[in-house]
Subunit: 160 residues, 2 copies
Amino acid sequence: MDRVDSSLIALRRIIRATELYARDLKQIAGITAVQFRVLQIVGEKGHTTAKEISTRMHVSQATVTSLVDKLVREGMVTREKSQTDRRQTDILMTEKGQATLDEAPDPLQQRFVRKFAAMEDWEQSMLLAGLERVALMLDADDLDAAPVLDTGELKNGAHH
Amino acid sequence: MDRVDSSLIALRRIIRATELYARDLKQIAGITAVQFRVLQIVGEKGHTTAKEISTRMHVSQATVTSLVDKLVREGMVTREKSQTDRRQTDILMTEKGQATLDEAPDPLQQRFVRKFAAMEDWEQSMLLAGLERVALMLDADDLDAAPVLDTGELKNGAHH
DNA sequence: GTTGTTTCCTTTGATGTGCAAAGTATCGTC
DNA sequence: GACGATACTTTGCACATCAAAGGAAACAAC
């Protein structure tokens, strides 16, 4: 097997890892990866707007509405009209939502961050260069850069 | 921004590239990425069974049935009872299916393969090592290794 | 060759994700 | 105050996916 094949296998494994994590999450925490990501965004400040979720997750507002509907139905968050701008809806974290967030299995990016941190300085540089190279090769350059993996974003002291 | 963040951004860009490719494909070729992948598997030998598709794509047979249903409805493939084992259904490529396969936009992996091939020998080695390292970091090691990207598998002389 | 088990596939019914288009309410601005 | 932009919801749809149940054929064992 040549290196092209091996590289593609490795890439596929990486993508697959995010899918597997999504299934585990659903099984263990009883919440889907997408819903969990919404919960993470809400959790950052304890509240947020539909617009922000839509922007950050790159999905339509209609999708956000249905996502939040589900979370409301399950008691994870509540809706409340914003006082400052009454067009906006504030989405507030509930205790149950916070608990779900706290008890969720180790997110992918934390796993990554831990292992990355354990690497030698030169190794980190090499790895970063390689990943950026691949990203460029795939022409995935229209993304507004946010430090995220498939599920969840890198905030809340997940590193350092 | 530190290297952990940059690495995660690069990873996210890579994953995002596969999603974007899926949307382009649907727009341009009028077929979804998942259905296209089925078509690719059928196209390898001109025919295949539902079981093989199910195994290769890691989805249930029920899913395969509905996927093939759609392709049949669109005239991309036909079903035919296998003569050797009448439990099996042979899924055969039609001319239209073949045409769709041939005319599909440059798949991600071909883009990758071309650029990878253009790299220096030592660069290829470094990149491969990096990718495998990341795959390991994400613990995506339960995958039966097949040289695939998100959509489609690496066959049909897509490389070399 | 009948019986039991396994395999392959489909059907049915459900969930989750996602969007477009149309509608409602509110904000800002001229 | 009228008009256009913004934020969100509603409606109606498509796709991907599975679990469970069932039919049909193959296989194995007696």
